[in-house]
């Protein structure tokens, strides 16, 4: 009985410590962001109005909608929202189109080369993300490597403007997030039974038909997981559009950061964060459900 009791206490401790840590440093911060999004800027420390104000000893709740109404009236914010969604969606699509055949080839290779190939996919991830994005500045600039090579080959006579374009941002995101697309797809494709494809071939199905009828539907969970792993963080991406992207159209992550650091408007920055979260809450929950199912399947 005594052992039982200490065991229960031990379990409570094992689960409790990380739970308390995350409540304090992950959940409560969001509540604070939510609360500050309903205040107004003021010149003080901290630079926003309190939630509860006291008038002659009686407390009254102060809720301001100004941050949100500001976001919806200024077209700058709406357009950066839509632009961020577009950039994330296009980049995710390209990640999928490039990553799927790569994951497929790895899953079909023989086991000894497979581990080498997987290592090659993961290896760039271990070197600095910031420096890998930075490398693209050197490749894409007007007098950069790509333009120099094309000029030398005589393909073009004027350097192409590649940097500070949508194209550069797509390249940067696809480049940085490609491993996140390939790994879940590989984990899925590797489990497929080749006998099914052989049976389809025996029945006279062409390879493309067999792929569309068997492999593609079976790999749907991998496609969704990989796409969410790329799409969700890409919406709020800050480094890639700042280093490679346009200066006339900002993404929402940059807008949030500028509101906070340049304009020192904490309520508006918080409101931007809350609206991005609202947008992403369904994809995030979908991702978590997939993740849970994956772990349960492993049991």
């Amino acid at each position: 009985m005594a052992v039982r009791l200490t065991q229960a206490a031990g379990r409570r401790l094992v689960a409790g410590i990380p739970l308390v840590w995350l409540l304090l440093l992950f959940l409560i911060p969001f509540i604070i962001v939510f609360r500050i999004s309903f205040s107004e800027v003021r010149l003080a420390i901290p630079p926003y109005t309190p939630l509860i104000s006291w008038h002659h000893g009686t407390p009254s709740l102060e809720v301001h909608w100004s941050a949100y109404s500001f976001l919806f009236t200024d077209p700058l914010y709406v357009s950066s929202y839509l632009y961020s969604l577009k950039v994330a969606a296009v980049s995710t699509l390209f990640c999928l189109l490039i990553g799927y055949p790569m994951a497929y080839a790895i899953a079909r290779s023989n086991p000894s080369t497979r581990s080498v190939l997987l290592m090659l996919i993961v290896l760039p991830f271990w070197t600095s993300f910031l420096l890998r994005v930075y490398a693209w500045i050197g490749l894409l600039k007007n007098n950069g490597v790509i333009n120099n090579v094309l000029l030398y080959l005589g393909v073009i006579h004027q350097p192409l403007a590649l940097l500070q374009t949508d194209f550069a941002v797509y390249i940067g995101i696809v480049y940085s997030y490609l491993p996140f697309m390939i790994l879940p797809l590989y984990a899925n494709l590797e489990k497929h039974d080749p006998a099914l494809l052989e049976a389809a071939a025996d029945l006279g199905a062409r390879p493309l038909r067999a792929f569309l009828a068997i492999t593609l539907p079976q790999s749907l969970a991998g496609i969704v997981a990989g796409s969410l792993l790329v799409f969700i963080p890409a919406v709020g991406e800050y480094v890639i559009p700042t280093l490679l992207g346009r200066t006339d159209q900002l993404m929402i992550g940059r807008v949030l950061s500028d509101e906070f650091f340049e304009n020192r408007d904490w309520p508006v920055a918080s409101a931007v964060a809350i609206l991005v979260l609202l947008l992403l809450v369904i994809p995030i929950m979908l991702f978590q459900r997939l993740e849970r199912r994956e772990l349960e399947a492993a049991k």
């Binding site: 995350l22 962001v33 790569m102």
Partner: protein, 282 residues
């Protein structure tokens, strides 16, 4: 069958080229004499002058030292918390707060970093007002933030390792009268040690590399290496950053090479032990 295999293999090769060309270009141009970075100065290259300049750059060296210290502490803290969370999620079945814990350990992985960074800074500001701690932002708040987002990755790594093998070993030890702590130290810990090691390395890399969250929770005197690099490259390319990138690539590549050789060696030794055991039984 042939045609599709051919297509995906081509894509794989092209994709790998795509992944490695930018890294290679940094390595190559780190030996370039010209300040124009991407124009190869054949007369005076290769040169090591950017490496010399880097070694003299006190700002970069100081920031690198700060980043290393933060990453060491953050990775260790994240491993402790992440292992606890992974164990609870993989082994405890249903308990109160399970869904909450599971949600809070997977959400930071996909959460846009600007949001995590903003929310953590606002927490630290609110805490400073309420209880007077932390006093201002700096290395301490950066470390706390890094532990929080790194532990999510450790949890996933440890949890999937634990889910991968069944509980019968642990149950057998319990039946034989081992206490929970003994079971953990003698059975569970050795089994998940590879996951803990790779979780620690992953957490170290993520902490060492993080820019966005760090920018929010950093103070005036606490610039980490990514912050210094970012302020340097924001307005163009600088050759000494190429040298820095090359050194980092070299460290990672040699680390991977050493661990591969070590794993091969262990595998060989394990097979030899098995053969010896089989021979002894004959």
């Amino acid at each position: 069958m042939m045609s599709r295999g051919w297509f995906s293999r081509c894509m794989l090769v092209l994709g790998l080229i795509f992944l490695y060309v930018p890294i290679l270009s940094m390595v190559v141009f780190s030996f370039n004499n010209s300040r124009l970075v991407t124009v190869w100065d054949a007369a005076h290259s290769p040169t090591l002058k950017w490496y010399v300049e880097l070694a003299r750059n006190q700002q970069i060296l100081g920031a690198a030292w700060l980043s290393i210290r933060i990453a060491l502490i953050a990775a260790s803290g994240a491993v402790v918390l992440g292992t606890l969370a992974g164990m609870a999620l993989a082994r405890f079945g249903a308990f109160r707060g399970r869904l909450l814990l599971a949600g809070m350990t997977t959400a930071p992985i996909v959460m846009p970093e600007v949001i995590t960074g903003l929310s953590l800074l606002l927490l630290f500001v609110a805490m400073a007002q309420l209880i007077g701690w932390p006093r201002g932002v700096g290395a301490v708040t950066i470390t706390l933030a890094h532990i929080t987002f790194c532990m999510a990755y450790v949890t996933v790594v440890v949890q999937s390792r634990l889910v991968g093998f069944d509980e019968s070993l642990e149950e057998a030890a319990m039946d034989l009268g081992a206490r929970p702590l003994q079971v953990f130290l003698r059975i569970t810990l050795p089994l998940i040690l590879p996951a803990i090691a790779s979780g620690w390395l992953l957490a170290f890399t993520l902490s060492w590399d993080d820019l966005v969250i760090t920018q929010f929770v950093a103070g005036p005197g606490s610039s980490t290496l990514p912050m210094v690099i970012f302020s340097k490259v924001r307005f163009g390319v600088t050759p000494d950053v190429n040298a820095l990138a090359t050194i980092m690539v070299l460290i990672v590549a040699s680390g991977i090479a050493i661990s591969t050789v070590w794993m091969r060696y262990r595998e060989k030794r394990r097979q030899r032990d098995l053969q010896l055991a089989a021979a002894a039984n004959l």
